[in-house]
Amino acid sequence: MSEQETVESTARRLGAFLELRREQIAQRWADAPLFRTVFTVSREEAVEACKAVVDALAGVASSGRLEDITSSGFDSVRDQLGRMTDAWTRMGASPARIADEVAALRSPVAELLRAESPDPAAPEAAEGLLAFTALMGTLRLVVMQTALTSGEELIERQRQQLLEVATPVISLWEGVVAVPLIGTLDSARSQVVMESLLEGIVARRAQYAILDITGVPTVDSLVAQHLMKTVAAARLMGAECIVSGIRPAIAQTIVQLGIDLSPVLTRASLADALAYALSRLGIEVSPRASTR
């Protein structure tokens, strides 16, 4: 028999063993933390989940490709493994911790496997154990892969959410638009801000544009430069720009940093900026006489 054939026949014997001892293995695994902490409703639930994993492993072993993490044998349990790693991650477990828990599944089955073999000293017994270890290594990788994939999906979702936060241009009055800026103003985002503000000025024929920076935690020289460029661009479009929401701590910092914001019209709050724009538009807002 060639080495390849030996490996394949060992794998098939391992598959047969897993099918035969499915119930016993599932009973043992159901007490392992990996399953017990996730399937808390009932022990039966944990046992069923364990059986699904044993079946998948048996399928992979029978196919003879013990180290193939893309094996279709794992497809039936990928969702379940994903839910399990999600649950562990939510409990604050690191991928390394999850990997350790998967590794802990090996020894209960290895015991069974040893007890099963008629002659523990025979080369077949060692080969069987080796094959099983390789298979469990593959399972560990599959679990890691699902854990990392769900992490990547989370990051991608959050990135999309951040882009959605971007920058709405709000009409405050006829001829007055406002853009509330929130978070970090890096070069990419301030480019988006400038574009949407300029488009808003054209679309709404605004004469006054208010940039509110209440939600910007840090104004350093780059952010200030972006603000001044935006103001200059708005001016070229025929709109006067007002920067509002400069908090006291930021005002002091800007002065000490040496940034000269005097070319920029500033107001303490969005309300002040709107009042200024309205008064320049000749609009007077006053309480109704009858309600006084």
Binding site: S187, T218, V219, A224, Q225, A249, T253, L257, G258
Partner: protein, 148 residues
Amino acid sequence: MMAVPGPVTAARLPIRSDADLAWVRQQVRQCAADLGFGLVQQTKLVTAASELARNTLVHGGGGHVDVTPVTRGVTRGLRLSFADSGPGIRDVELAMTDGYTSGGGLGLGLSGARRLVDEFGIDTVPGRGTTVTVTAWAPGVPTARPGL
């Protein structure tokens, strides 16, 4: 849940991308708050850190910052040391001048950051890299410097 002002531990943060800059700002703000810095002092230190970290990234080609809590008597402070192995600064005096820029900015990064902190040191070797170390003390009364 309120953040418990716990012991601030020294940390080294990488500066390799814009996202790292945001992380540096957040970490410096957190450390400064834990050490009992007031809001104005926090904002100043974070802004100085933002300027210096951007210098490390843009002019130094990336590097790292060491954030270290320090004490002087009963006063607690935070020391930030920005290190890169970029081209270095040939004329430090010129680079420290308001309005001088080699990167198209406002030219206030180094000189502005110096005014925002209590202690400022710069160590640069042309061709070898630059290390800028700043310290802010809390709740310090910043020593008056002439010319401000």
